[in-house]
Amino acid sequence: MRVVIADDSVLLREGLRLLLAEAGVEVCAVAGDGDGLDHLVEVHRPDVAIIDIRMPPTFTYEGAQAAVRLRERWPDLGLLLLSQSLESRYAAELAWEHPEGFGYLLKDRVVDVDRLVEALAQVARGGTVLDPDVVAHLMGRRSARERVQGLSPREQGVLALMAQGASNAAMARDLKVNDKTVESHISSIFTKLDLLPQQDAHRRVLAVLAWLGQ
């Protein structure tokens, strides 16, 4: 898998490059801002672009704007946004508008290299990955909390994993149950929440996000 990194902090992007290299991910190049990133994608045609949301010149949402721009130009390019702080509203909006091949993680997660590599792989496949904190935040909102009340604690856990974009196998591993149990939980959740059953992990994320965003 080939990636490019855009982050204004030298310390961070070099650390990330080192880490990914050790984990067997090829980092083609790194950039310090959105314009540099455009150029890198043009030249290297990577599978995924890892982008810091806050970049110069205004340090607000340059990374997100760069992501939208790249998505229009390169529909197949995977986008993984990194953020230093939780900005769930912005992340959820981006996910709803551009769900295919989209990921949003807090920067702390990238130290967990297995998870980072898995997220990169999923985004490269066209799937969706949301940070657990973002999902927890969305599910913690009052409107969502009221609707989740009917679910058992285990079902709520499965719902959260589903929103993060986890596959059935990953959920089974996380929850230490077998695949069949996970499947029955999922169908039960879809029934209780009046959602159409979905097999594809990526479509499931969409359904859950749409439901959370109601």
């Binding site: 902090s9 310390l11 880490l19 230093q84 290299v113």
Partner: protein, 645 residues
């Protein structure tokens, strides 16, 4: 004219001397003088040219008359074309009427009231021209004393038609003159403020216009030339004078007041006389038996009574006269007095004066002497209220020569004199509101300072957040990634190297965090007070820092504020005078802490800059104050904070 007079006497025809010559001369002089003054002062105003033209045409007409009188009547045949001069002179009053009509239309602005009135004026001019031509061509006998002169220009074949045309055109011209008078009255009715005053006197002259025109026609038709001359010339003489006052805006208001005062005293004197005479008559009638000395006493008593009556009567009479002569002034003062007697809570000075003066754009600014600023009643900046704004005029109400309030009003709606009078009447009200405005100003400033402090705090929080994100958090994250990378790699030497650099990185991060925390509230300040904190600060500064700080503790709030001021002042010195020596001194005088930070830089600090403004706010918020003295020798920041010892 005097020459003509002499010549007539010399020719033995004194009976031909013009009985109305004097008033005629007055008319010429008034029109010529007023016309030339107006033309000189306002050459763009056609009304002035009308008067100048009137003077010229009257002079010309006088010359024609004199020429004809001598050449055709007194000494026939002595002068060529005397009969033509007689005809032209006979018709020469027509241009006067036209010029008077135009002047009435155009005073005081120099423009028609509306285009419609303009068309009426042009119609009058056309009618007058026709009339003049018809009069010259008609064969009827001329006015006395030219009754014997036969008209050489007469077209006898068309006599009847010409006579008809002449009659109609003459009537139309007279009508045009009345229309011109009406135009002036309409203008007067619509006018406000100064323009109304400008027109008042002219309007007074114009009101009897129909009488003059009527008299003139009666005089002409009954063959009384004296009546024609007196009515026409008298009227023509008055108009330029009144118009001159109007256009020149000559002490309009004072004329009004003088007339009012004069009338009051005339009425009062008459009243006192009546009382006195009546009293004396009564004494003489009923006290016949009294001795002469008693009568004298009685007369004195009557005089005293008359005087006693006069004093209160003066107010009544003055009141009545004021009502007649200065309606607006009277009504305006009445509004202000009523409010002063019984204030109506929702009414403000502004609303009262607006009502009194009939100007709803009127605004008032109050002078806060201690601060040397103008403010509104709410203590705000009275922007756009300066004397410079277009169409606005201002009047300052003062007490003993010190400004109290500034009234700004629309110049077209109120007269300056009237506003001055009303302002003087409302002076006590204005002073009262001025005191409240001073309090309001302080409140406004406190609110603004509070808002600035809140904003500064917000910015400070953002700066800290940025420092944490970009500094410590990034470092720790990078450290974690590098350690993780070494772990993933698994090689023992890589792991050792990662651990070694990791320890260094962690220590650097701890230092960074400590500095960040220290900037917020230095440990030295908390443990050792201001003396320790300033010592610590001085040791970290690149240039020479001298300090003299008492080694004692104050309340935490005082120490924190003092520390903040010292830090910012030193930072300011570093910014404006890098490397220059800085001197910090803290003193205590009674229950006040005196902080001085002085640098020997170029003295370019801006007291209204963000940093120093924030300092002043901080000092003010804790009940103290701060001043910045910047001179080429350096900048000194001095703050005084209250401190209980």
């Amino acid at each position: 004219m005097v020459l003509t007079d002499r010549r007539l006497v010399a020719l033995g025809r004194a009976d031909l001397r013009d009985p109305g010559a004097l008033i005629y001369v007055v008319a010429i002089v008034s029109a010529t003088v007023v016309g030339s003054i107006l033309v000189a002062r306002q050459p763009e105003n056609p009304a002035g040219w009308c008067f100048a033209g009137l003077g010229a045409s009257m002079t010309l007409s006088g010359a024609l008359d004199s020429y004809a009188l001598i050449g055709a009547v007194a000494d026939p045949g002595s002068l060529p074309y005397a009969d033509v001069a007689a005809v032209l002179g006979d018709a020469s009053f027509i241009p006067w009427l036209v010029l008077v009509a135009l002047a009435l239309h155009l005073t005081p602005t120099g423009r028609w009231l509306t285009p419609r009135w303009g068309r009426a004026a042009l119609g009058t001019v056309v009618a007058a021209v026709v009339w003049w031509v018809a009069k010259c061509l008609s064969g009827t006998p001329l006015d006395p004393p030219f009754t014997e002169v036969s008209n050489p220009l007469a077209v006898r074949q068309l006599a009847a038609a010409i006579l008809g045309v002449r009659g109609v055109a003459g009537l139309l011209t007279g009508l045009g003159l009345l229309v011109a008078g009406a135009s002036l009255l309409v203008r007067f009715r619509r006018a406000r403020g100064t323009e109304r005053r400008q027109l008042r006197w002219l309007a007074l002259v114009v009101i009897p216009l129909p009488v003059f025109v009527g008299l003139s026609f009666v005089g002409a038709s009954t063959g009384r030339p004296l009546l024609v001359i007196v009515s026409t010339s008298g009227f023509v003489a008055l108009i330029p004078i009144a118009a001159g006052f109007a256009i020149g805006r000559y002490h309009l208001y004072d004329v009004d007041r003088l007339l009012g005062r004069a009338t009051t005293y005339v009425l009062l004197t008459a009243g006192v006389l009546v009382v006195y005479v009546a009293g004396v008559l009564v004494i003489n009638e009923f006290l016949q038996g009294w001795a002469a000395s008693d009568r004298a006493t009685g007369s004195a008593a009557v005089a005293a009574v008359a005087v006693a009556v006069a004093a209160p009567a003066r107010h009544r009479v003055q009141d009545l006269v004021d009502r007649r002569f200065g309606r607006r002034r009277y009504a305006a003062l009445a509004v202000v007095r009523a409010h002063a007697r019984q204030p109506d809570p929702p009414a403000t000075d502004e609303s009262v004066l607006r009502r009194a003066l009939g100007d709803d754009t009127l605004t008032i600014a109050y002078w806060i002497g201690a601060r040397r600023v103008w403010v509104t009643a709410a203590g705000r900046d009275p922007d756009g209220q300066g004397p410079a704004s277009e169409g606005r005029a201002t009047v300052e109400a003062t007490r003993h020569g010190h400004p109290v309030a500034r009234i700004s009003f629309a110049a077209t709606r109120c007269e300056t004199d009237l506003v001055e009078t009303v302002g003087a009447e409302a002076l006590a009200l204005l002073e009262n509101t001025g005191l409240r405005a001073a309090l309001a100003l302080e409140l406004v400033e406190v609110q603004a300072s509070r808002a600035r402090i809140a904003h500064a705090q917000q910015q400070e929080r953002q700066r800290i957040e940025r420092d944490l994100h970009d500094g410590a958090q990034q470092r720790l994250l990078a450290l974690a990634m590098r350690l993780q990378a070494a772990l993933v790699n698994g090689d023992a030497s890589r792991l050792r190297a990662a651990a070694r650099s990791g320890v260094e990185e962690a220590q650097a991060t701890v230092r960074e965090l400590r500095e960040l925390a220290n900037g917020l509230h230095p440990v030295a300040l908390a443990s050792g007070g201001l003396a320790a904190a300033v010592d610590d600060l001085a040791s970290r500064m690149p240039g020479l820092v001298e300090f003299d700080v008492p080694d004692r503790r104050y309340s935490e709030a005082t120490e924190t504020t003092a520390w903040f001021i010292v830090c910012e002042a030193v930072a300011n010195a570093l910014k404006h005078a890098p490397g220059a020596p800085v001197r910090i001194s803290i003193d205590q005088v009674d229950e006040r802490m005196l902080i001085r930070v002085r640098d020997e830089g170029p003295g370019t600090a801006d007291p209204d800059g963000n940093g120093l403004r924030g300092l002043a706010d901080r000092a003010a918020a804790s009940g103290g104050w701060l001043i910045v003295r910047s001179s080429p020798g350096g900048t000194e920041i001095e703050a005084v904070l209250p401190c209980a010892s």
